[in-house]
């Protein structure tokens, strides 16, 4: 008996065991299916072993994207727009693959830009919620040690130390936050409108060339979001 024969014998013995387990399992719907599965399990048992092991586990083991930060309004809105966009793109099978492949990277970047924008808004919220920035500009100076005689007048002449400048900067921070939030929401709403247009185009039998135009608008959405983000910090 050669090494190959011995290996084959061991392989088939293991296969017989797996085939027996397949026979006893409740995978098949009909006797014909059961016998097909038992016969193929004898030869292709490595393909059946994961099936037998998995069938005893609960459905709760289905992989889901891991939560990266606690759920909030922004996360929910991003997840909703992202889910709708993916579902819409998955329906574009009849449309040119090269269009989708070309824009897939941009869509990925758009998603990353949303996440980054949301994180920036959270950072701003945390900053504005801190006691140092939650008060008015006048109140910011209350509690500070008294200036030496004449020094307060000198210091207040410097634009960075003027009480109204502090208040204006806090106000500007709030405006930056509001603009970042509005930009993010606009981008999400724009993509959701685009998703609706994709569905409409698909169900109304629009030509395949329309895919390029619609998917290409996602790139514009990304550029709009990233452009706004870069341009708004202007002290």
């Amino acid at each position: 008996m050669t090494l190959l024969d011995t290996t084959l014998l061991i392989y088939l013995l293991l296969g017989a065991g797996v085939a027996g387990a397949v026979y006893l399992s409740d995978m098949a719907r009909s006797p014909a299916e059961r016998w097909f599965q038992v016969t193929t399990a004898l030869i292709f048992w490595p393909l059946y072993v994961p099936l037998l092991l998995q069938s005893r586990r609960s459905p709760a083991t289905t992989p889901h994207p891991p939560p990266t930060h606690e759920e909030d309004e922004l996360t929910t809105a991003i997840a909703r727009a992202d889910g709708e966009l993916k579902a819409a793109l998955n329906t574009l099978d009849g449309w040119p693959d090269d269009v989708l492949q070309r824009e897939r990277g941009r869509i990925c970047e758009l998603h990353a830009a949303w996440i980054a924008q949301a994180e920036r808004i959270r950072d701003l919220d945390r900053l504005l919620a801190s006691p140092e920035y939650s008060e008015s500009s006048t109140d910011l100076l209350v509690g500070l040690p008294a200036w030496p005689d004449g020094a307060a007048d000198h210091v207040s002449e410097h634009p960075l130390h003027a009480p109204d400048t502090l208040g204006q900067n806090v106000q500007r921070l709030r405006e930056v936050r509001q603009r970042a939030y509005a930009d993010l929401m606009d981008s999400l709403a724009g993509v959701r409108r685009l998703v609706a247009m994709i569905h409409l185009a698909r169900f109304s039998g629009a030509p395949a060339a329309r895919a390029q135009e619609l998917v290409g608008q996602l790139a514009a959405a990304f550029e709009g979001l990233s452009g706004d983000t870069k341009g708004e910090v202007n002290p």
């Binding site: 995978m27 098949a28 719907r29 393909l47 099936l51 998995q54 994207p65 891991p66 990266t68």
Partner: protein, 249 residues
Amino acid sequence: MEAIPVAELADDVQPMADAHSTLGLAEMLLKEPARVNALTRDDTRQGELLPRFLALALISFSIYAVALALVLRAAPAEALPPFLAEPWSAGTLQPALALWAGYTLGMIAASGICLPSFYFFGLLSGVRVSVLQTVAHVLKGKGATSIMLVGLLPIYVAIALGMIVFKAPADTLQWSVYLGLALPFVAGLWGVRSIYQGFMALADTLPEEQRCRRACFLRRLTVAWSICYTAVTPVMIYTLWDFFTRKLA
């Protein structure tokens, strides 16, 4: 964003393929690959899908083996490649059986051998994937290969038989036999594409912050696995074919 111009409504709605039958699954692989991808990811459906994909592969490779055996039997002895000339000149059934066993078992067994590396590659790239999901994706690729093979086969058989009937030169006929032997690998490119698409869709299980970067890594690993699988399969087929030829002789 402006509204889309209202277009004509589609004339008819395409009926959806039956996901609970083997033929329906074959139809879905052709018409709705995204739906098959979604089903492959559904834990509750994998137990049903795996044997169906396997059945598709077995049926398709068996049809291919029968067709190729007919071509080899009909071809003149001088047109056969040297390693086939001796066994096929005897005119017995054994070489045809060895051919069937070599291709049918070899194609699927190669998937089994490459399975652990594919699972490992998936984990390495960070996607959340179970062994069963990996099996489902690989067998889905096998199913896609089967469909493509059955689609290409009539064209190949028509050309090869035409060359035999019209007495094409032996050298040209020999090349057509080589093409026939390589046909499952040509069809296999479609299967590799199907696996690639299915596995890349799993990128949504990656953490959002790392998705873009990791997806690129996953893409490279999937391509690497495809190359590895393409190298293993011919070796497996040749080994099994040789083994069965000696055993059945």
